[in-house]
């Protein structure tokens, strides 16, 4: 079953901006799906339409088969949303915020309090449950929005930049948390600027740019299509100039650092053999860039080129 399906979804704002230009997108139930795109690509508009925060101009969308035009209440019952911007009452306590949110989805207060304890504990907010939300740290506020979105145990959880501005440690523990939720059956759609995040978490991916989907694939298939990877080599002795090796594209970054572009058909042993012949001893090596980032940049910058 499709958790989300859109057909020819369009949005033109009053100022004439075409935010979405006929988006067709399917997300399977149980998927952990990445929706990527540069700023202004249409990600938040797409999510906004599905969650009723934005009115669509045309097309259709359904959530678990419930059309948002004809069965909006049912469709919205299936969705939990963690928005990009903070949107809870900063004067209320985390406990009040999550219990009320459950109520808006028909969860009685007694049951809501039980769930509130479960999710606030899991997201390490239980000790802060009675303080005004404005006193929480940035990371806590993000976690509060996740707890709030989970209160009605949605079938589809949509996270719009959930880890923006969150430090690395908290980000990684939030990843574990989201993986666990997904493993237990909740479909997750994630938009993020951290491509590493999408690469680590998501099984399928769509890249959106200028209001249209420009790529839709399995994450692994997309990454396999990458022809070239860049490696950073640290050398023992100082390099005065870039070693002259014809088959490989090398760059001297500083006297102890080289960068090498290795195409899919090339072989690292050959590179090391040639470097050895020139007397260059490699001490360590690492992959320079996030692979997804590379694909993403190529797709967005040159949509007519081959990946």
């Amino acid at each position: 079953m499709l958790a989300l399906s859109t057909r020819q979804l369009t949005k033109t704002y009053k100022n004439g901006v075409h935010a979405l230009r006929g988006v067709d997108l399917d997300v399977e139930e149980g998927d952990f799906f990445a929706l990527l795109g540069p700023n202004g690509a249409g990600k938040t508009t797409l999510i906004g339409i599905v969650t009723s925060l934005v009115s669509k101009t045309g097309g259709s969308a359904s959530v678990f088969g419930f059309d948002i035009d004809t069965q909006l209440e049912r469709a919205k019952s299936c969705i939990g949303i963690v928005p990009q911007e903070l949107n809870f009452n900063q004067f209320e306590s985390p406990m009040t915020i999550v219990v009320n949110q459950a109520g808006f989805y028909g969860i009685a207060r007694a049951e809501a309090r039980i769930r509130a304890e479960r999710y606030l504990r899991q997201l390490q907010l239980w000790d802060k449950r009675q303080m005004a939300a404005r006193g929480l740290s940035g990371g806590m506020k993000r976690r509060l929005m996740i707890a709030r979105a989970l209160m009605h145990e949605p079938r589809l959880l949509i996270l719009d930049e959930p880890t923006a501005g969150v430090d690395i440690e908290i980000r990684r523990t939030m990843w574990d948390f989201l993986r666990d939720i997904n493993r237990h059956g909740t479909t997750i759609i994630l938009t993020t600027h951290y491509l590493e995040e999408a690469e680590n978490l998501c099984r399928n991916i769509a890249i959106i740019d200028k209001g249209g989907i420009i790529e839709r694939d399995h994450m692994s298939s997309l990454l396999r299509r990458l022809n070239t990877q860049t490696f950073v080599l640290n050398t023992r002795s100082p390099l005065l100039e870039t070693p002259a090796i014809s088959q490989f594209n090398l760059r001297r970054i500083d006297e102890h650092t080289l960068e090498a572009d290795i195409a899919k058909e090339q072989n690292l042993n050959e590179l090391f053999a040639q470097l050895s012949r020139l007397g260059v001893e490699v001490l360590s090596m690492r992959n320079k860039v996030n692979r997804l980032e590379e694909i993403f940049m190529r797709l967005v910058e040159n949509r007519t080129g081959n990946v």
């Binding site: 009723s52 209440e73 809870f88 009452n89 109520g103 808006f104 989805y105 969860i107 666990d180």
Partner: protein
Amino acid sequence: MSSELMPSSPASSAPLQGPPHIAAQLPLGRIRWIGFQTIVIREYGRIVRIWGQTLVPSAVTATLYFVIFGSLIGRRVGPMAGFDYRQFIAPGLIMMSIITNSYGNVVSSFFGAKFGKHIEELQVSPLPSWIIVAGYAIGGVMRGLMVGLVVTVVSLFFARLPVAHFIAIIAAAVLTSVVFSLAGFINAVFARSFDQMNFIPVFVLTPLTYFGGVFYSVNMLPAWAQKLSFVNPILHMVNAFRFGFLGTSDVHVASAFLLMLLLAVLLFAVAVQLLERGVGIRD
């Protein structure tokens, strides 16, 4: 954040369950009813949490009115419509507090939700627009009636208040607070700033209230002013309410109730339509 409280951790106090997805299966009627209750409870919590701003000011204002207009000036005014002046103005002052508080509660609560973006909590929820409007309106009615009760108690320190028609008192208070709660909601929908939020209360509501027969009988006015006054819905509300206490009214009481009922229905329909179309909150 350490990993010890992550859901799959053995140390987690309540491991994450497989998602029963209950909300997606609940009857819509139940979702609406509990959602409505939740909005009302939240509004009640807001009124009580900031009681210094919501409940106290009207009591202070009413006391000042009674001291200055009732006791000091009122002594020289003499009887009005056959009643002691303080008795005459008491229902009007109570009604004035009901009007300003029911209106003010919804306009500030809904505009605050727009301004703070937490209106999105309701927008993304499965609750239909009419439930959201009804929830906010009941919040306004609660505050209007709570403040009305406080001002009634204050009034009893200054004037003896007979009860001629108890049902009329309750009906007029409830209907008036419904009408002005809904009007406050519509104001909040259109308001884009705190200035715009205050524009209607200051430049429309206050003059209409003061010319609505709170402090005088409309029969004291010249004929043309009387005709003009009858266009003012607050005149009808104040007089219907006064009829409940004193048994006297400057207007036809049944017409006054019909007017309130029609206004309530009309404003509810307008408010629901505005919310449905996302005016002021979408795009």
